[in-house]
């Protein structure tokens, strides 16, 4: 695996994490 491909997967993981963070943060508005 080339370094470029490796960084792309890491970026995918971080993007996934950020997307989850947005969903979790906004949804928590409805926490009691």
């Amino acid at each position: 695996m080339s370094p470029g491909m490796g960084s792309a997967t890491v970026q995918t993981l971080v993007v996934v994490g950020v997307a989850l963070a947005v969903a979790a943060g906004l949804r928590s508005t409805w926490s009691p």
Binding site: G17, V18, A19, A21, V22, R27, S28
Partner: protein, 198 residues
């Protein structure tokens, strides 16, 4: 929570709303940075030894398991603490102090009631991200997104406006829940596609 930090309420307590809000958003974001960064750091040694594709698959499976718990499939229930922020702080402390304190607690995500599995999976993603910086980026996003909806009550200066906000929140509760399910499904697909692609 939104109804707790309004210009109406802050005026009644002799505080400036914008000061309380800045402290609240700052506290929440800092808590997100701290928790996400710490998890990224703590998980980095494990992440270094684990292929990114495997980590993506773990996140995807966690999202799916979380969604099943969110909808109560197979008798699953989302684990959560029952604790909430202390209402008494608003009467006992200055606005910036309780705003910051509330922000710290809510931005950490898991020290008060958790209503969605995506909170847990967010922290899992931070732990698997491979570094403190990546974890902190994820945490910053959570902390900020957790707090920023407070700006939606900036115009609440009368009790009837506060009641209207409450009504809007009730009306949007179910759509927000469904939107979170949808977002989770999309994230799971992206994770699996990313794992398969590389």
């Amino acid at each position: 929570m939104l109804g707790s930090i309004t210009p109406l309420g802050e005026r009644g307590r002799g505080s400036r709303w914008w000061v309380t809000v800045i402290a609240y958003v700052l506290g929440s974001t800092l808590a997100g940075v701290a928790v996400g960064g710490a998890l990224g750091f703590l998980g980095s040694s494990f992440a270094d030894r684990t292929p990114v594709t495997a980590r993506l698959e773990v996140v995807a499976l966690a999202v799916i398991a979380g969604l099943l718990a969110d909808v109560g499939s197979f008798g699953l229930r989302l684990p959560t603490v029952r604790r909430q922020v202390d209402e008494g702080w608003r009467a006992g402390y200055r606005g910036w102090a309780w705003g910051f304190g509330y922000g710290i607690q809510l931005g950490a995500g898991v020290v008060t009631v958790v209503t969605t599995s995506t909170v847990y999976v967010t922290w899992l993603a931070a732990a698997l991200s491979g570094s403190a910086v990546a974890g902190a980026l994820i945490g910053t996003t959570f902390g900020f997104a957790r707090a920023i909806p407070v700006l939606s009550v900036a115009g609440v200066r009368r009790p009837d406006q506060l009641l209207h906000v409450d009504a809007v929140l009730v009306r949007w509760a179910a759509p927000a829940r469904r939107a979170t399910y949808g977002a989770g499904a999309v994230v799971a697909c992206i994770s699996l596609l990313g794992a398969a692609r590389w």
